[in-house]
Symmetry: D2
Subunit: 318 residues, 4 copies
């Protein structure tokens, strides 16, 4: 066997995302009452939220803005040393980022824009959530009591951003940060239309799909996980009872095999309730190349994808 | 922040296990017809099997023997270099193992006994399963068509072995191979009774629980995963219809939060059908110490543990 | 084919039950916050509650009393004429009941004691629940918005009472009221230990099991249904998080094949969360006689029945 | 309360259906290997099949024909007397049917065409299935061992036929046979587009929806039930793995609230895998009138209905 380049395990997980919303109060009410998250604190025009199964203090920052979109996405490294190594790798690649002091829930972070225009940051120091007495779970391996309110999402799972040049966007993430390409879609006679990347055992932590418009930096969706498919079906019922528009699902994706349900939060950002997805354990996973729509249909069971799924993103273009 | 020792990601996953059985034909029939695995090949007095979602050629070796038990357990490293590094670490620790040429499904391996007496091996080179035409799945990210036969388990998940000195047993695995301690049980006025270790994002790949007898090297159980809790309930129905004795479950464990179901295969080895379990993403996960049986009960919802669960292991002592 | 006695369809369904509790406030809080019911009104020392899927105004009356137990159980007839016919049949059988004017949610009722000592009533006139504007469901075929609070039970399902002479108790219900015997348990060398009766398509609306003590009129349990087994598992989690003692389950019964979970409400009455159960469509269903514990085990998958399940009932004997 | 016309309980259940197929061998293979039914016998150019949870000997007759469609549908009465009463009622209504001697699985039957052109029969005498030794279930209240093959449907559930004049079609079934109208759809400025009828506790045993073409007697679909929604999702996976085209679903209907999945069997008949649906216990259920598409959408969660669902029926018109 010839020498193999070793896989890189330098980022640990998706740490948090910041969503912008032009209707801050309605968005906040959605994330708490409908999506089922808890508000941790409000400060500086932002709300910091968490799902009941998140071990970190906060995984969602919701910020009042003139329009919807992605403020930034934060990735946690496996160590402070890995943070330094990744910053060095970014800068060697010509990235010009900046160190920030931190935010609610995490310490110093290196903030930069990816080639596709989204602001990302990497950091290590993290504040863990400590449940107050009345919120402790009967299970000490759970950060707090489970919640039944609304869709009752349990933890942050993945994010999907848009890019024009998907091979360039994914190679940047793989080479500088250690993401691994798990699957990608290259329709016949087209350029690459989507790529699914992950850090360790998940099928994806990050998806990059095609930007249809003449803009950069947009968000396709942010996803939180629930435990199983029944929870996704239950969430659909909750959304209908509470008047939230369902764009797509519940159904099973072909890529990642996740069971999905997409809605728009009041600010316009697409939000997913997600369960399942296959696991990846092989350190030498061969990326799966989906080549045809017959084989490469976006849903496993043949459900048509609504047109908006390929066009709607935030910020909405005007 | 002071310098942190970095977490080690050197082993990728549980690769395979070898089970010994005094009733080879009945055990083989169980694993194929009841548990739902496929037979890959038979040679040298052993059967090599796989679950439909296993990406490797084989994950279970079943070997005719005079009594039941664990032949060995195999762990795959993330790279050939990691294999060399782990062998060096083992030998630096005083382990005297030996290189073997490989077996059906994998290449050269370093074989050694752990302090608790089980034979383990580590290896990198692996043969991936290639589905023949009629067995290909409609989903190219799946190694073969899913199966509905019997319990229809989908992939190898974890193994539980017994040890007298659990702190010593787990520290050996952590320090030489990069396992991470996730949870352990220390009942009041007792020594450590159980430890749950994992490699990356799972709650456990390896459990080490207390050996009640004056022997070493025994197996508590081997577990394959199904997708969700409904699949475990369905498996219970299958076992009852097909006459397989259920020892324990379906129910939810407190440690790992896995949804479990334990049966004995005809040879006497305890086999689990497992779903769920929480995920671990924090690179600095603090091990959860369960200290009392009130808090530390083995099942989450209060179901009593049958006495046999604390005493039966293979080989059965005579 | 010789002339067949025609099956009788005279009672429509279990209408409501009245539970007595010595800790009214705690019991009320349990049924609302933990079990997930809505309070309809309080009057005369009683609370009237309903589950979100109940079409009637109220299905549970909770009454402060010196001790726990069953106040009465109410069955709705299929018509006013059927009510008159059933009263005539009861009186022809020597029952001495009395007409009452009605109660919250229903009109005049004929109240009587069964041979096993429980107070029953039959009635026809019923007040349907009308959801106020903010509680209407998006689905007009549902009485109100579904609820996610606590165990979120959806509708009243069945009741289990105790009797010494089970054949006499069930024959009374069958002959006077049109219940049909679906299954019964006659252990070897014992008298009948349990009988499961239903009115139309369910496996049971009424169970009568053996009274172990020298008393009459006791309640074994009252059950509300949830949609599926995952909802029962979810309820187990809710009970644990909220500190409710689980006596038994979740598991699958052999009789009825229902998926069950039993807890005690704070007053001491045993309450079930139930899903599933087989359906009966044959008008000439042959009662299933369970004769041995090997075959006749109370749980389908072999889970042991806790001793309290055979002894605890309300009122608790002092 | 004024005198109420009493509800009629004269038919017990959907007994069987006969499907015609131009590709008999392929259809038979589908129903056995993919849908998961058992073949009971073949004779006279027909196959008689059953699902594992059907208590009757056979519930599906598959007959070779020049084209697909519904041979007939059979309903079982609650008694021989009820059979005579229903025949009298049919003939009083001017129906000209004929007595037939019976068929595999049932005795003499009265066969007639409904106003919408489908051949129906009513009968009482039925042969119950008796499992041979190796097929007996461990549960004596189940007709045979449960099956895991293919979609593993458990029992016949309902049928949907097409009619031009839906009010006339449903009133005929209600007045002569005792069906009860549970829900109907009357879109604005249109005639009635669908009606859902049942006999006892189900939301529907019979659906009658609008015939879009200039023909009569067509079948929309035949449905078998599985236990829960997870089983429907599992069936979707099975259909995809085995190459069966999914037309629609899995998703939740608004009417009946059933969880559905529609495929075409090789002969072209639309076949459903169904779970859930609400229960009806009120003897005076008020039919729910769906009036607008906003409220009356065919799927609960907003999934679009494919055009073929409103046009494809068997026989296919040429």
């Amino acid at each position: 066997m010839s020498e193999t380049a070793e896989p890189m395990y330098e980022l640990a997980h998706l740490g948090h995302a910041e969503l912008l919303t032009p209707v801050y109060e309605q968005s906040l009410e959605f994330f708490v009452e409908v999506y089922g998250m808890d508000l941790v604190q409000e400060s500086g025009g932002s709300a910091y939220l968490r799902a009941w199964g998140d071990h970190d203090l906060t995984t969602l920052k919701l910020t009042a803005s003139d329009r919807a979109g992605l403020g930034h996405v934060g990735w946690r490294t496996i160590s402070p040393q890995a943070l330094d190594r990744r910053v060095a790798a970014l800068e060697a690649r010509g990235v010009t980022g900046e160190w920030i002091d931190g935010d609610v829930g995490h310490g110093k972070a290196y903030s930069f824009r990816t080639p596709s225009g989204q602001r990302n940051e990497i950091y290590y120091e993290t504040e863990k959530y400590q449940a107050a007495q009345g919120k402790k779970s009967y299970l000490p391996n759970q950060p707090q009591s489970s919640v039944t309110r609304g869709a009752a999402v349990s933890r942050i799972d993945h994010i999907n951003v848009l890019a024009h040049d998907i091979p360039a966007a994914r190679e940047f993430m793989c080479q500088t940060l250690g993401f691994k390409l798990r699957e990608h879609l290259i329709p016949p006679d087209q350029s690459e239309a989507g790529a699914w990347l992950s850090l360790m055992n998940k099928a994806h932590d990050l998806a990059i799909t095609r930007e249809p418009a003449d803009t950069t930096g947009r968000l396709h969706h942010l996803a939180y996980a629930v435990e199983n498919r029944e929870d996704v079906l239950r969430a659909a019922e909750v959304f209908c009872e509470l008047g939230t528009f369902i764009e797509f699902g519940p159904a099973k994706h072909s890529r990642t095999q996740g069971f999905f349900l997409y809605v728009y939060e009041p600010g316009g950002n697409r939000i997913e309730v997600f369960a399942g997805g296959f696991h990846i354990f092989a350190p030498d996973w061969e990326p799966v190349t989906w080549t045809t729509e017959g084989q490469g249909r976006s849903t496993a069971w043949g459900l048509d994808v609504p047109a908006s799924f390929h066009t709607h993103a935030t910020p909405v273009l005007r």
